[in-house]
Symmetry: C2
Subunit: 273 residues, 2 copies
């Protein structure tokens, strides 16, 4: 079918407006209200038209205000791909061969932060909510926002929870876990930050208490010693502190960068199994 003909059909309103993607698929974005029955009928005609054209994936993005169009799309064979607070994305695969539709985001990225002052005390908090670590003295943790670098997330979370200003220094380690919140996977980065202020002001909604705790006291806590990953990273952190690698200037750390650049995940992975 020539391009003019396609345009004509669209103009006559039989086919939904769509743009092509680089994988021979089409993307329909509906923004104006439409009668659900009319939408269903148009969608049926459109899919048949795209099938003739040899198209593969068909995407429909519907803002939440057009929720009434979700049911007709599902009844036409579409399924949910992903949803965000303001819209839902539905998808359909035309060919009979297995679909190559990319999955939505699969991981959450979280951070934990070692912050130490000149007295060899680390910044620790007690959380109010959740069950696992409630009441434990632990380093500040949090989740990276969509679009946020790991190092910025660590600085932000420490500031939010404790009021302490910090600078990102380096990543000490990371850990993978699966089947976490909503069944998703998670990568947890443990960061080293350097404090730029020392007066603690806690965020009262989520944090019960915060303090500077001597590193040796932190290490000997029962929950640190009984958790292989926590014990391992804490000892590695202490090793770095003892070597005075943490409080050196950035320029020096940057010079060390090439030597420290390589990270073997193998031992980490096997330590988790």
């Amino acid at each position: 079918m020539a391009l003019e003909q396609i345009a004509e059909v669209v103009q006559n309103g039989k086919i939904l407006e769509a743009i092509e993607d680089e994988f021979n698929g089409v993307i329909v974005e509906v923004n104006e209200p439409m009668d659900p029955k009319l939408f269903h009928s148009k969608l049926k005609t459109s899919v048949s038209h795209w099938r003739q054209q040899g198209k593969k994936g068909v995407w429909i993005k519907l803002p939440i205000k057009l929720v009434s169009l979700v049911e007709p799309a599902v009844n036409e064979g579409f399924w949910y791909h992903h949803a965000e607070p303001t819209y839902i994305m539905l998808v359909y695969w035309i060919p009979k061969s297995g679909n190559t539709i990319p999955a939505n985001a699969t991981h959450r990225v979280s951070i934990g932060a070692f912050v130490m002052n000149q007295k060899r005390e680390v910044l620790v908090v007690k959380e109010k909510i959740g069950k696992t670590l409630k009441g434990m003295w632990k380093f500040p943790t949090g989740t990276a926002d969509e679009g946020e670098d790991v190092c910025d997330a660590a600085v932000r979370e420490v500031k939010e929870e404790t009021g302490i200003d910090t600078e990102f220094v380096e990543i000490l380690s990371f850990k993978q876990s699966h089947k976490a919140l909503f069944g998703k996977s998670e990568i947890f980065f443990v960061c080293i930050l350097r404090p730029k202020s020392f007066d603690i002001q806690i965020q009262e909604l989520e944090i019960e208490a915060a303090m500077w705790m001597p590193l040796e006291e932190y290490i000997t806590q029962k929950y640190v010693q009984s958790n292989e990953f926590m014990k391992d990273i804490t000892e590695k952190y202490k090793e770095k502190v003892d070597l005075d690698e943490v409080h050196t200037e950035f320029s020096i750390i940057k010079k060390k960068f090439t030597q420290n650049f390589l990270l073997s995940l193998r031992a980490l992975v096997s330590s988790l199994k």
Copy 2:
């Protein structure tokens, strides 16, 4: 309200069945068909009931076959939290204070793989689809599945694209990027793998060609030299190869683990800005 009374209301069918979560919220999971109007009416009564109880977040999980219940929930003030092919999760926040509802997965995790044979040749492919790297000789890349470790994803992708069996050795580097597919963030891990077989068999759906290419030829390619990250990691890889660190035995690499464990993200991040 006493527990018996709650049970009674639920038994009378006025309130939707719900389980409590550890953050003082409730989770409703509907699995049997229900008239959309009846569902709307019950939902209204239920939310009012949970408000009196001081509940916070309200979650509704609906399988795709119950798509007709999505619209009444949205009309009652619920919004989309996330969706997977088989279900949609809706959410509502009762208190007037700002909501602390956790975000869904924000990141995709992808991998690139350096695989070198005894002749100092690296495994490269040319992709059929996509635009960015089509026609370039590049190392195999791919996306980690939900629930899959980075090292397993690298081994799987190399096998799928080229037929080569490998063992994971270590992570050479990683890179963060944002606003990628569906607006999500991405962490790209560059892995070093050791080949266990050498006969290439390409996956014809996505791969146009694959070959073993001399490392020096790989490095001098224009696209490698013009991309700061590619150039940087390729040179670091070559450095390791020259030091004969890659083909040593696992036990030795594991011993080196403590020295190589630390990774500074700073230079990486600043090289990307």
